[in-house]
C-alpha cells in the first residue's frame, strides 16, 4: 500500500470510477442532482493521496519508481509497447497540482452548473478528463502518453462543445480538435523518429538511457525534438496553432479554468520538461522553442490589449504565459536544465493557481450577470460582489507580477534564465537577449491588460445588464469557497515555495530526467541568488502597467485607447486578422479540394455502377431464352447438336 506506484494507480483509478458513477447518476432524475458528488469526492481523495505521495517522495528514495512486470499492450516484431507508469518528483508535483485545482474547480462547478440540463454529462466528462490528465502525467511509455494526450483532447472537445446546440460552440470544438490534431501529427512523427533512434525502446526511461549511451547525430535529434515540439505547439496553443484557445471560451467557464488554464494546455510544457535530456542535446531546437515562445507571448499580449470579452482577455493571457514557459524551456541547453526547467515548471505551477482563480472569478461574474461577459455591458461590480472582487484582484496582481506575489517570483526566474542564457557559451546569446527584451515588454503589456480588465469590470459606474435579472448578487458559498482557497494559493504559494526555501527546485532536481539532462548539457549550474537588477526591472514594469491602466480605464470605457494608438488598438481588437488569414489561405483551398475530390468520387461511383450494369444488361439480353416453352428448349438442343455435328462432320471427314 505504501508503494508510490500503487498510490499512483489509485490516483488514476479514482476519477475513472467517478466518471462511470457520474454517467450512471444520469439515469434517473433523482440521482441527476448528485452527479457532482463523485467527482468532488474522487478529486479530493486523489488530492489527499497525491499529497501523501509527495511526502513519500520527499522522505524516501529520491529517484524514479517505474512499474515492474508491466502488462504488454501489443508487441509486433521488435516493437513492444507496455503499460508502464513512472512516479518521480516531476510527476508527483504535477499530480498534486492537477488534483488540487481539479477539486477546487469541481466544487465551483457544482454551484455554477446547478440547474443545467446536462449536469451529469458535464461531470462525467470532467472526471474522464482528470483521469486522462493524471494518466498523461504518469505515463512512462510514449504510446500511452499519446493515448492520454488524445484523451485530454477528446474531453476538451466534448466540453467546449458542451452547449452543442449553439453553432458557435460546435464550431469552436471542431476547431480546437482539428488544430491540435495538426500538432499531434508532428508529435507522432517525432515519436517514431525517436523510437528509431532509440533502438525501439518505447519506455521513456529506457529510451533516454539508450540515447545517453549512444548519442545520435545532432541533425536527426534536432528534427525529432522539433517534431515533438509540434505537439506541444498544438496542445499548448503556441504560435501558429494558438487560434483555438480563444474560441474555446464557448465552453462553460469552469472548463476554461481547468482545461484551458491550468492543466491541459500545460501538457506541452510538461512534455518538454520530461524530454529535457533530449532537448538539451539539440541547441538549434532549443532556440527555436524559445523564439516561438517569445513570439507567442508578445503576440498574445498584444491582442489581449483591446479585447472586450473578459474570458477572451484571460484566454490570450494564458497563451502569453505559456509562451513565457516555453521561453524558459528554450534556455535549457545553454544554462543548466536544473534551473531552466525549474523556472518553467515553477511558472506553470503558480500560473495554474492564479489563472484558475481568474477564470473562476470571471465565471462568478458571468453567473451573476446572467451569462453576459462583455465588459462593455457591465461595470463597477466591486460593491455588488465583494468576494469575487477581492479574489479577482489577488489573481490579477499575481498575473501582472506585483512584487512579492507568486507570479512575481516565477516570472523573475524566467527573466533570470533568459539573462543567464544570453551570457552563456551558446552561439545564440544575441537571440536570447532579444528574447529577454521581448519578455520584458510582454510583462509590461500583461500588467496593462490585466488591470484594464479589472478596472473595466469592477471600477467605474455600476452597470448591470438586463439579462442579469435576479442573479445580480454575490455567488453562493460553493462558488466562493474555491475562489478564496485559490486566492490564498495565488498570493502565497510562490513566495513559500521557491525564492527563500528552494523547496521546489530541490525537489524537482531529483527527477532522473533532470540529472540526465544536467549531465548532458555540461553547463554550469546557476546558484540561487537574488538578482536585484531583475527584481527592480520587473517591479517597475508591473507598476507602470498597472498605473497606465488605472489612468485610462478607471472610469470604464472599454473602447478607449491610449492617445495616438487608435489604429494599433483596432488591430489588436481584430486579433490581427489571424483567423481571417487562416481561412483564406488554408480553409478555402481545402474546401475547393474537397469539392473536386467529391466530383472525382462521383465519377468513380458512376464508373463502378457502369461496370455493375454490364452483367445485368447481358443478363437481360440472354434471359428471354428461358421462356418456359418445352418445345423451344428442345429446338435449342437440336440446333446446338446440329452445330456441333457440323463441326465434327466437316472436320473429321476432311
Amino acid at each position: 500500500m505504501s508503494d508510490p506506484r500503487t498510490l499512483a494507480v489509485i490516483i488514476l483509478a479514482l476519477p475513472l470510477f467517478a466518471a462511470i458513477l457520474a454517467w450512471i447518476c444520469g439515469a434517473s432524475p433523482t440521482t441527476k442532482k448528485f452527479a457532482h458528488v463523485p467527482l468532488i469526492v474522487a478529486c479530493g481523495t486523489a488530492a489527499v493521496i497525491a499529497f501523501v505521495l509527495l511526502n513519500k517522495m520527499l522522505d524516501g528514495y529520491a529517484g524514479q519508481y517505474v512499474t515492474e512486470n508491466p502488462l504488454t499492450w501489443f508487441s509486433a516484431g521488435y516493437l513492444k509497447v507496455q503499460y508502464t507508469i513512472a512516479v518521480d518528483s516531476l510527476s508527483a508535483i504535477m499530480l498534486g497540482m492537477v488534483t488540487f485545482i481539479a477539486t477546487m474547480i469541481a466544487i465551483f462547478s457544482g454551484g455554477y452548473m446547478h440547474g443545467d440540463k446536462g449536469f451529469f454529462r458535464y461531470f462525467a466528462i470532467m472526471s474522464l478528463f482528470v483521469f486522462s490528465m493524471c494518466g498523461l502525467v504518469l505515463a512512462n511509455n510514449f504510446l500511452l502518453l499519446v493515448a492520454f494526450w488524445e484523451g485530454v483532447g477528446l474531453c476538451s472537445y466534448l466540453l467546449i462543445g458542451y452547449y452543442y446546440d449553439k453553432p458557435s460552440a460546435a464550431a469552436a470544438a471542431r476547431k480546437a480538435f482539428l488544430v491540435t490534431r495538426l500538432g499531434d501529427t508532428g508529435f507522432l512523427l517525432g515519436i517514431f523518429l525517436l523510437w528509431k533512434m532509440g533502438n525501439w525502446n518505447t519506455d521513456l526511461n529506457l529510451l533516454f538511457d539508450y540515447i545517453a549511451k549512444h548519442p545520435p547525430e545532432p541533425g536527426t535529434l534536432t528534427t525529432a525534438c522539433l517534431l515533438l515540439f509540434c505537439g506541444a505547439v498544438g496542445k499548448s496553443a503556441q504560435f501558429p496553432l494558438y487560434v483555438w484557445l480563444p474560441d474555446a471560451m464557448e465552453g462553460p467557464t469552469p472548463v476554461s479554468a481547468l482545461i484551458h488554464a491550468a492543466t491541459m494546455v500545460t501538457a506541452g510544457v510538461y512534455l518538454l520538461a520530461r524530454c529535457s535530456p533530449l532537448f538539451v542535446r539539440a541547441p538549434e531546437a532549443q532556440i527555436i522553442v524559445a523564439w516561438i515562445g517569445g513570439i507567442t507571448a508578445l503576440l498574445a499580449a498584444f491582442i489581449a490589449l483591446a479585447q472586450t470579452d473578459l474570458k477572451r482577455i484571460l484566454a490570450y493571457s494564458t497563451v502569453s504565459q505559456l509562451g513565457f514557459m516555453f521561453l524558459a524551456l528554450g534556455t535549457s541547453g545553454p544554462i543548466s536544465p536544473a534551473f531552466a526547467v525549474t523556472a518553467a515548471m515553477f511558472h506553470l505551477f503558480t500560473h495554474a493557481f492564479f489563472k484558475a482563480l481568474l477564470f473562476l472569478s470571471a465565471g462568478s461574474v458571468m453567473h451573476a450577470m446572467g451569462g453576459v461577459i462583455d465588459v462593455r455591458q457591465f461595470g463597477g461590480l466591486r460593491k455588488l460582489m465583494p468576494i469575487t472582487h477581492f479574489t479577482f484582484l489577488c489573481g490579477a496582481a499575481a498575473l501582472a507580477g506585483f512584487p512579492l506575489l507568486s507570479g512575481f517570483w516565477s516570472k523573475d526566474m524566467i527573466f533570470e534564465s533568459l539573462t543567464e542564457a544570453s551570457e552563456s557559451q551558446s552561439k545564440y546569446t544575441a537571440g536570447y537577449f532579444t528574447l529577454f527584451l521581448m519578455a520584458a515588454l510582454t510583462a509590461f503589456l500583461t500588467a496593462f491588460y490585466t488591470f484594464r480588465a479589472y478596472f473595466l469590470t469592477f471600477w467605474g459606474p455600476e452597470r448591470i445588464p438586463a439579462e442579469a435579472g435576479h442573479h445580480a448578487h454575490e455567488s453562493p458559498g460553493t462558488m466562493t469557497l474555491p475562489l478564496i482557497v485559490l486566492a490564498i494559493g495565488a498570493v502565497f504559494v510562490g513566495g513559500v515555495m521557491e525564492p527563500f526555501t528552494h523547496w521546489f527546485s530541490d525537489f524537482l532536481q531529483t527527477t532522473p530526467a533532470m540529472t540526465q539532462a544536467v549531465i548532458a548539457s555540461q553547463a554550469q549550474s546557476v546558484e540561487h541568488h537574488f538578482n536585484w537588477a531583475l527584481i527592480g526591472t520587473s517591479t517597475v514594469l508591473a507598476l507602470a502597467g498597472i498605473g497606465i491602466a488605472f489612468a485610462l480605464y478607471r472610469n470604464g470605457g472599454a473602447e478607449k485607447a491610449p492617445p495616438g494608438l487608435d489604429k494599433v488598438f483596432a488591430l489588436s481588437r481584430n486579433k490581427l486578422y489571424v483567423d481571417e488569414i487562416y481561412y483564406a489561405a488554408l480553409v478555402k483551398p481545402a474546401e475547393v479540394l474537397a469539392f473536386l475530390l467529391r466530383v472525382f468520387d462521383g465519377f468513380l461511383d458512376g464508373l463502378a455502377r457502369l461496370i455493375a450494369a454490364i452483367p445485368r444488361f447481358i443478363g437481360d439480353l440472354v434471359r428471354p431464352i428461358q421462356n418456359g416453352l418445352v418445345q423451344f428448349y428442345a429446338l435449342s438442343m437440336v440446333l446446338g447438336l446440329a452445330v456441333f455435328l457440323t463441326f465434327v462432320v466437316f472436320r473429321i471427314t476432311r
Binding site: Q631, F632, L635, V638, L645
Partner: protein, 408 residues
Amino acid sequence: MTLFALTKTQEAGGQIALAAILGVVGFFLLLPRPRGRFVPGGIAALIGSAAVFGAMVYSTFGNPASDVVGSVLFWLFSAGALIFGTVLVVQRNPARGAIAFAFVILSTCGLFLLLAAPFLMAATIIIYAGAIIVTFLFVLMLSHAEGPSDENDRSREPLSGGFAGFAFVGLVLFTLYQTSLAHLPNDGGKDKEQHTPHLPMAVLTPEERQTLANAVVKLDEAEKALDGDIGSHTARDERIVAFDKAFTLALNDLSDVVGGPYTFGPSPQAGTSPAQTAQIRDGSLHQRLFVKKPTTPQAKLYREDQQALEAIERAARIRGLSEGTFKKVEDNLQRDTPDVSAAKAEVRKLRDEVVILHGMGQLPARNVANLGFILYADHLLAVELAGTLLLVATIGAVAVAHRKGVTQ
C-alpha cells in the same frame, strides 16, 4: 445430277442440301397455321424433296437389293413410311394423325421383314399399332377439342423447327455418304459395273461363300464314298482311294478360302487375268489371312471386329482339322477293325466346321428361338431391368392419373 464440275463430295452435299431445303419449305407450307396453309405447294415441295433424296440415294448407293422384288418392296415400304410420317406431322386432326402413325408402323414393319426380323415385325405391330395407338385413341376421345383450337391449328416456330430437324438429318446423311467412301474416285475401269459404295468389307465375299458351300457338298460326297464294302483290304483300299479323290476336291475348295497345306492346288479358272483374281480375293478371308498389308482403299477398312477375328480363328481351326482328317480316316480304315462311323464322324466334324464358317456374317435361320436364346444368354440383366421398368411404369401411370379426394 452432275450439272457442274464438282467433286463427288460437293455433289452429294449439294443434293442433300437441296433435299433438305425443299423439305423445309414443304413442311413450312404444310404445318397447320391459323390463317390456312398452302397445301398444293407444300405437297409439291415434299415430292420434289423426296425425289431428290431418292435420286441421291440411288446414284450413290445403287440398288438396295440385287433382285427386283426386293428393291420394289424396299422402295414401297420406305415411301410409305416417309409419306405417312409426313401426314402424321402435318395433320391437324390428332385422330387422323394416329391413323397415319399406324400406317407408319406398318411400313416400318415391312422394312423389318426385309431385314430378316419377323418376330420384331410381329411384336411391333402388336404393341405399337395395337396397344399404344388404341390407348392414344382412348385418351384422345377423353380430351378431344371441338372445332379449331390452339393445339391443333397452330405450330410452334415451323421454320426454325423444320430447319433444325432437316439440318440434323442432312448432316447425318452427309456423314453416311462420307463414311461409305462413295466420295472416293473410281480407280480405272475396274468398278465400272459396280455402283455399290465400298462398304467395310464383309467377312466372306459371296464367291467364297459359294466355294464353301461347294466344299460342303464335296465333303458330303466324300463321306458317302466311305460307305460300301469294307470287308477286305482291297475293298478298304478302294474306299480309301475313292475317299481321297472326293476329299481332295473338297480340300481344293477349302484351300481357296482358308489356305492350308494345299494352298497351291489347281489354279483358278484359266482365262481370268491376275487382276481379276486379285479382285476376287480383295477383302476376302483369303486376303485377310495371307495379305498382311492392304493396298487398296477398299481393303483399308479392315474390320477388326469380333466377327472377323472369329472367322480367322475358325479358318485356322479348319486348317488344322483338315490337315489331320485324311490321315485319321486312312489310319482308321487300315486298322484291323475299321470303324467306319468314327471315320465318318471325323469327316462330319470337318463338314460342320465348314458349314459354320459358311454361315458367318449371316443371320441364323430360326429367328425367334435365337432371339430368345441371346436375350437370356447375353442380356439377362437388361431383361430384368426392362421388366422392372414396365412394372414401375404401370404403377407410376396409375399413380399419376389418380384423382385426389374424389370418390368414384
